[in-house]
Symmetry: C2
Subunit: 352 residues, 2 copies
DNA sequence: CCACGTTTCGGGTACGTACCCGTAAATATA
DNA sequence: TATATTTACGGGTACGTACCCGAAACGTGG
């Protein structure tokens, strides 16, 4: 069976315009050296034929490589969360490498703002065509993307967002709604009057992610005017000892707490505490598909995990740059990830 | 920036083997006309260099088109479930069309076995290189794939499986586990002693899917030795009147039923009944992201929907044939879909 | 009108692979 | 031994696009 030859390429365009292929090529790529008249003519024919370039041939013939920078937190001992986006990015890399795309990784330490700035400097010293970044440090990120914008380098945010930064796209969760889902799950089996605890474990005092989530969480109670009390506690030191200490105090002050909602992936620390202090009567919900979290999910200490497909975030983030830079295709400005609910029973089939 | 030329192609292989490109090509494609000795030599070099063919160039140069058949139920008035796989398949089609792949659709009526057999005959009359099918009618499907196997045409099952049929792959849910998850959700907020109802709405009396799901559902109660009673009812007529009639009877006989589990996407029929008869105290769980189901989810009549990414099933199903036939890459024998939990709060972000 | 620069364009080769066609050598047949 | 047939291989062109290089056409100032 033969390919259908209903396909019109540059050759056909050239024939119809009475010019050479080279001239058509110049028009397509907006290169100089074509009179206004013939340019008009050729563009007309292109539109008429709805010409779609053959990416295969295009990438094959092109000698250029496209160089992308990826800026994300290093996988730390504390949490293996960032393995997932990395994996997704590597998957995308493998897929598009043969199209002449090259990835450079720039890893920083979430506990050290300086490393973030260093990596930014390193990126700007090289010749990049696009950047994928997790804007963990807000002010520094803003500065950085402003520079990129001036240099006309497209950049994509993922995992968390900063609004109104002229980014090509944001790939990540709708944080508010995610907190909302958390509240629904938490209250699903509670009695009418209940007391719940929101735990925020994070070095950064002001954290856009956590705040957004908590807002959604509280909104649920408002919308369903449940007569309940939402306590909250900030734990700034992420080690398990500090967590245990702070929780002990809170649970002493409020002995009738029935459920705990942790606004990020550090729910395992809370689970560990509940386990040790034999408080398995308390419902527990938190975030992310970490090995430790799954362990406590299996044990029943954690009831639900919410997850936003971190691997796919990485994959899609890179792919959107590829789409823009290689295929020249338009890219969605915002791509919200699903708000996945993980239980003991379905985690085995979860696609992170 | 230039492409790195660390890439070894047929040219390099030919040079090292002291043969022409044509001969290397013959070896790669297992075409005759090469002595055993040179074949060995060339294969050695290929392995040594870990040669990866350039798909771009390969597809560009190839004149052949690859023709795939897709056999699935027609989208009916009763349920729009099959829109999703179709959409996924179309997405895959758009993606791989430019590589010279062509799709032919063969639609049958789920209520009419004859249409299934007709479509099978139609497929076998054409020249196909691969088949993607939902094996809704088990015996007929078995016959069909036996023929395909003889003709060395690879075939992929999706949505539901038939074990041990030499299929290239199965893409779909782990049904047992899916029922297990359903049970967990259903009992999550129930008291200790409870009575639940399993509803099986289906024209086919023997239905592999539903049975597998119910098995998983019951297994959960066994594993957690909950003191509960599981009633079950088969409803063979799928129209809403029959459903209402049968349910009325069952709920009259067992007036203390607290929760209902529907083993397929027809949960909206049950929801509609509960709504009309003002029995919104009963928890309800069912399957699939249908418009009707989402409506009742929003109203609160349905508590949870379980879903197995039908669109992605279609997409992946087609892509696995593409992987095998065009890229010559190995394909996973079984690819279980995630068991997604959908609520009123997260459905807006669900990716079907 | 000529010399020279600029604008505008076409020829042609390359990318890596597929595959047609032709041919020399090896083998079989008479 | 002469001829037919098969086997084993190489040359070369095509796929659709990118881009180098050179050349014709045009314009400008002297």
């Amino acid at each position: 069976m033969e390919k259908d030859n209903t396909y019109f390429g540059v050759k056909e365009i050239a024939r119809r315009a009475n010019v050479s292929i080279a001239t058509v090529d110049r028009v397509i790529h907006n290169r100089p050296g074509v009179s206004e008249k013939t340019k008009q003519k050729i563009n007309g024919i292109i539109k008429e034929l709805d010409y779609q370039p053959n990416i295969l041939a295009s990438r094959l013939a092109s000698r250029k490589i496209i160089s992308l920078a990826v800026l994300l937190p290093r996988v730390s001992e504390e949490t293996d969360f960032w393995e997932a986006p990395l994996k997704g990015i590597r998957r995308a890399e493998a897929e598009i490498k043969k199209y002449g795309v090259q990835i450079q990784f720039y890893l920083f330490d979430l506990n050290d703002k300086n490393t973030f700035e260093e990596q930014i400097k390193a990126i700007l010293e090289t010749e990049v065509h696009g950047v994928l970044l997790s804007p963990s440090f807000i002010e520094e990120s803003k500065q950085f993307v402003k520079t990129c914008h001036k240099l006309k380098i497209p950049y994509v945010f993922f995992d968390s967002n900063i609004p109104d930064q002229d980014n090509l796209s944001y790939i990540g969760p709708h944080l508010f709604q995610s907190g909302y889902v958390g509240a629904k799950l938490l209250t699903y089996r509670l009695k009418e009057n209940h007391k719940v605890l929101v735990v925020n474990i994070s070095k950064e005092i002001f954290n856009y992610n956590n705040l957004q989530i908590e807002e959604g969480f509280r909104a649920y109670f408002n919308d369903h005017n449940q007569s309940c009390e939402v306590i909250r506690v900030d734990i700034k030191d992420t080690d398990s000892l500090s967590v245990a200490k702070d929780l002990t105090r809170v649970l002493y002050e409020h002995e009738d707490i029935e459920a705990i909602f942790v606004t990020n992936s550090r729910v395992f620390a809370v689970a560990s505490f509940l386990e040790k202090s034999k408080r398995t009567d308390i419902s527990l919900i938190g975030y992310d598909f970490l090995k430790e979290n799954i362990r406590f999910l299996n044990m029943g200490t954690i009831d639900f995990l919410i997850c936003h497909k971190p691997e796919e975030q990485g994959y899609r983030g890179l792919m959107s740059l590829y789409q823009r830079l290689v295929l020249g295709a338009p890219v969605e400005k915002v791509h919200f990830m699903p708000i996945d609910i993980i239980t003991k029973e379905n985690h085995a089939f979860y696609q992170n």
